[in-house]
Point group: D2
C-alpha cells in the first residue's frame, strides 16, 4: 500500500465575516485534525468549496496547508477548474509550494468524451509532476469515471496515483484497487465496508469535524479487530446522521459544526450557498451536546 492512505478529511475552507478566506482559522482546523491522528487532507475539494474559490485563494490555501503540515501528513490539493489552462497553472503552483499530490475533477459543465478528459488530466499532471488523484464525483461533474475510462487515464497520465470514489457504483472500489490505484471511498458512512474490498481509506467532509471517529475505524482495522471496526463505523455514521439531520446545506453544517466544536468562527458558505438559520444552528448545538461520545475534545 502506498503512502496515501487512511483518514483523509476533505477540509473546509473557513471564511471571515466578509466572505474572505480565513487562513488563521484554516490553520487551526488543520492542526486540530493532525492532532486527532488523520493521515492527510483533501484540500479545496468538494467540501472546501473548490470551484467557488478564485485562483488566488486556491494558491493561498495550498501554501497554508503545506506550511502548517510540515510534512506530518499528506496533503492532496484540488486544482480542478473549468479550463485546462487554469487547472494546469494551479497544479504547477501547488507542486511548487510543497503539497504531496494533486486531485482534480474531470472537466465539468460541458460533457466531454474520454479522449478530452485524458488530455485534460495529462496536461494538468504534466504541469506538476507529483502524484495525481482523479476526483470521481458525478453528482457535481455530470460524468462518472468508469473502470474502462480510468484505464485510459491510467494509460495516458503517468502521474496517476489513485482516486476519490464518490459515485454510487460501490462495487467499482474493488476494480479500481485491483488496477493498482489508491482508491479512497468518498463517503464517511462507507469507510469500513469499502476497506474490506480494497479501499485505502476515506476522504469526506464530516471527517474534519470528528476526525477521531474515523481514526478509530482505521486503527481497529489495522489491528484486525472486526468487532471494534464495526462498532467504530457505527458510531461515526451515527454522528454524521445526527448532524446532517439538523437541516441546512452540507457546507453550512460542516462549517458550523467545526465552529462549535473548536470554538472558532469558520464563517458561512459562500453564496449561492446559504448559512444555517438560527433554528438550524440551535438544533446543531443541541445535537453536539447529545453526542456525548464526542465531547472529549481531541486537540
Amino acid at each position: 500500500m502506498s503512502e496515501f492512505q487512511g483518514v483523509v478529511p476533505a477540509i473546509a475552507t473557513p471564511m471571515t465575516s466578509d466572505g474572505v478566506f480565513n487562513e488563521a482559522v484554516f490553520r487551526q482546523v488543520v492542526e486540530f485534525n493532525i492532532q486527532a491522528g488523520v493521515h492527510g487532507f483533501w484540500v479545496a475539494g468538494g467540501t472546501g468549496e473548490s470551484v467557488l474559490l478564485d485562483d488566488a485563494e486556491n494558491r493561498q490555501i495550498a501554501e497554508a496547508v503545506a506550511d502548517q503540515g510540515q510534512g506530518r501528513v499528506k496533503n492532496i490539493m484540488h486544482v480542478g477548474a473549468p479550463t485546462t489552462k487554469r487547472a494546469a497553472k494551479l497544479a504547477e503552483h501547488a507542486a511548487k509550494v510543497g503539497v504531496d499530490a494533486l486531485c482534480c475533477v474531470p472537466p465539468f459543465f460541458y460533457r466531454r468524451g474520454i479522449e478530452d478528459i485524458v488530455e485534460h488530466y495529462r496536461v494538468v499532471a504534466a504541469a506538476a509532476d507529483i502524484p495525481l488523484f482523479v476526483y470521481n464525483l458525478p453528482g457535481a461533474t455530470g460524468v462518472e469515471i468508469t473502470p474502462d475510462m480510468m484505464k485510459k487515464i491510467q494509460d495516458g497520465v503517468p502521474q496517476l496515483q489513485g482516486l476519490k470514489h464518490s459515485a454510487p457504483s460501490f462495487a467499482n472500489v474493488r476494480i479500481f484497487s485491483k488496477m493498482g490505484l489508491d482508491c479512497f471511498i468518498g463517503s464517511n458512512r462507507l469507510m469500513l465496508p469499502a476497506m474490506t474490498v480494497g479501499a485505502c481509506g476515506c476522504v469526506d467532509g464530516p471527517l474534519n469535524v470528528f476526525p477521531e471517529l474515523w481514526v478509530a475505524i482505521w486503527e481497529a482495522y489495522q489491528a484486525d479487530d472486526l468487532a471494534a471496526a464495526v462498532e467504530a463505523q457505527d458510531r461515526a455514521t451515527s454522528a454524521f446522521e445526527v448532524l446532517s439531520s439538523c437541516g441546512g446545506s452540507f457546507h453550512a453544517w460542516v462549517k458550523a459544526g467545526l465552529s462549535e466544536r473548536l470554538g472558532v468562527d469558520c464563517g458561512d458558505p459562500r453564496p449561492p450557498g446559504q448559512p444555517l438559520s438560527e433554528a438550524q444552528r440551535g438544533a446543531l448545538r443541541e445535537a453536539l451536546e447529545t453526542l456525548d461520545l464526542v465531547t472529549t475534545s481531541v486537540g
Copy 2:
C-alpha cells in the same frame, strides 16, 4: 438477529430441453447447496426467472423446495406477479406447502404510488401470514424502495420481516437494518462490506453455483476473523468475475455453470432469454478449470 440470515442462494430454475421446469435437477441443485452449508434459498426470484414462469410452475417449485429442504434451511418463496390477486394466490399456496417466508417484488410495469404498493403488499402478506421480504430490485421493477417508503410498508404490513436490497444505494443497508429489518444484500460481491454495516447475509444467483465461497465469508465473519473474511470475499468475487466475463446473459451462464459443475443439465434460459453460444460455453468450461480454487466439489 432473526432466523433469516447467512448465505441464501437465489436458486436457478432448471428446465428440460423442452423448456419445462425440471424438478429432478432442481432438487439436485437444492441438495448440492444444502450440503455446501447454505442457510436458505430465495426461490423463483430474479435468478429463478420469476415472472417468466406460469403460476402452476411457481406452485410446483414451492412444493419441491419445501419438500427437499425438510426444514434444514429457510426457504423464501417469490410470489411477485403483475396483479395483486395472482400474487396473493401464489402466497396462499406457498404458505400452505410449507415454505418459511415469502418474497415479492413491488408492482412492476406500471409505476405505482407508495399507497398502492403498501396495499399490494398488505393483501399479498395477509393471504399467507408468514414472514414477508420486500424485493428491492429497481433495475427490473423501475421503482426503488427507499427507507421512507419502507417505513410505510412496515407500518401497513405486519408480516414484513426484511428485504433483499439490490439497489445502488448501498448506504441504505444500514438504515434498513436499523429499522429492525433483516436486510440481505443482493450482490454477491458486496456480502462482506454489507455485513459490516448491518446486512444479515447475502442473496444472489452466483451463490448457487459456488455456495462454499460465500459460506467461507460467513464463517470467517462469525469467527471475527477480518483477514480471512476479506480474503474469502476476494476469492468469491474473483470467481464471479471470471464466470460473468465469459459472455452471455446472467441466466445463461448461471445455468451453464451449474450444469458443468454438478454434471447435470439445467437447461437454457426461457426465451426471450438466449442460451450461451458454443464459444461462450467453451470459455465458461475453461474458466471453471482455471478456477482451481473451486475444483473440490462440495456435494
Copy 3:
C-alpha cells in the same frame, strides 16, 4: 403515408364490478370512438391494462374489437408478454381473428440486449405475419428503443411497420419517420408538434375519453390550417390537464371519465391499481361540467 395514421385511441379495458372484462361496455366505448371519427385503436396496451390481463382476456378483447370495428378502423392489438412464447401465441390468435396489426412492448422486467429483443420481435411477428408496431415505452419496460436499436429490429423483422413513441427523446420522432416507419407519438399533448416533424398520428389514452378533440387537430392539419391546429391542440391539452389534475391514477380517471361521459360503468382499475376516491370522483364530475367544450356528446 400508410393506412396506419391519425387519431388512434389507446382504449381502456372496462371491467365489471367483479373485476372481469366487460365486453358489452368495451364495445360501447369502441363505437363511441368510431362515431367520433377516430382512425384506429391501440388495444389492450398501456391504457388497456395490458400485462394485468390474462391471456384468455387478451384473446376475447381481440375478438371483440375486430368484430365491433367491422373494418371501419384499423385495430392494433397488443400482444406483449413476459415470455416470447406467450406473446407469439397471442399474436397468432390476434391475426386469426382479424385485427389489422400487432403492437408489442419489448421484453420487460429483465434487461435484454438488442439481439434478444430482435429475436423476440422476430418470433412474435412470424407467428402472425401482419404488420407489427414496436411499443417504445421505457417508463414501463425499462428499455428505450433508440434509432440504432430500431434499425436492427427493422433489419431482423420484416413485418415491422412502425412504433408508438412514448419516450422523452422527442427529436427521435423525425428520425424514426425518416427510417420509413409509421411513428405515432405516445403523448396526447404532443400530437400537433410531433406531426410537424413526421409523426403519422397519436396513440394515447385520453383520446378515448374525448376523441373529437384530437380528431379536430387531425382535421385542421389535413386542411393545412396552422392556426386551427394550434388552437385544437391547446383545447385538447387543456381537457387532459383538467381531468388529470383531479387526482387518482391514470387508469382510474380514464375509466371514470369514460363512465361519466358515456353514462356507462367502465369499472375500476385492476389491483394493484386503485379506484378514485369519492372526492376525486366528485372533482372529476365537476371538471367535466366545467369543460363545456365537451358537453356536446359525439355518439
Copy 4:
C-alpha cells in the same frame, strides 16, 4: 408576445490562434447573422463557451455585441458563474453597456435547493434590473428547472422574463408559456414543434451557422403557412444533421462551420475542448458543399 422572440442564435465566441477572444471576427459573425434576419443573440452562453471564459472576456463580449447590434436586435447576455457575487457583477456590467436582457444558468457543480436558486437569481437580477432569462440546461448544470421551481423563481424575481428550455421535458414548453414566460426552445430541431405549443422562438448554436434556415421557419410560421414551415424545419434539421455527423465536439464543428462559411477564422474550442481533426475538418468541408441549399451566402 413580447419583444423577445424569433430566431435567436446562441453565438459562438471566436478565438485567435493564441486562444484569446477575437473581437473582430465575433463582430463579423454578429453582422452576418443580423443580415440574415435574426431577431437577437444569446451571448456567451453554452455555445459561446460560457464558463470557460474569464470575467474580463465576458465583459468585452457584452460591450462588443451591444455596440455591433446598435439596437437592431435583442441581445441576451449570459452572466452565469459559480458564485452569486461574480454573476451579479457580470450582470451589473452587462446592463450598463446596453444589452437588452440577461440570461443565467442556475448555480452549478454543487446541487442547490430551490430556495438557494431563487436567491441566486434574485441577487443577480437585482444587480442589473433588465429582463432575466433562466437557462434551463440540466445536461450541463445537473438541475432541471421544473414548472414548480419556475413558479418560485417567478414569485421571487421580478425581472424574470422567460427561459431557454434545453431539457428533455418537451411538454413543459406549453406550461412555461402559459405561465406568461417567453419560452425559447433550446433545440434547433424542435423550433417548429415547440412554437405550435407556445414557444416564442428558438435559441441554439447551429442557428448562428445557418441563420437563414431558421429564419425561414419563423417567416413561414408568421405567414400561417404550415406546409412551408414543415418543409423549412426539415431543411434546417437536415443541415444540422449533416454537419453534426462529421465528428468532433459541438463547439469544434460550430466554429469550423462558421469559419468555412464566412471565410474567417473563428479558431478552436478552448481546452479541454479539442479542435476538429484534419479528417473531420475535411468531412465538414465536403458536407458544406453537399448542402447546396446553403451555398447562397446571406451577408
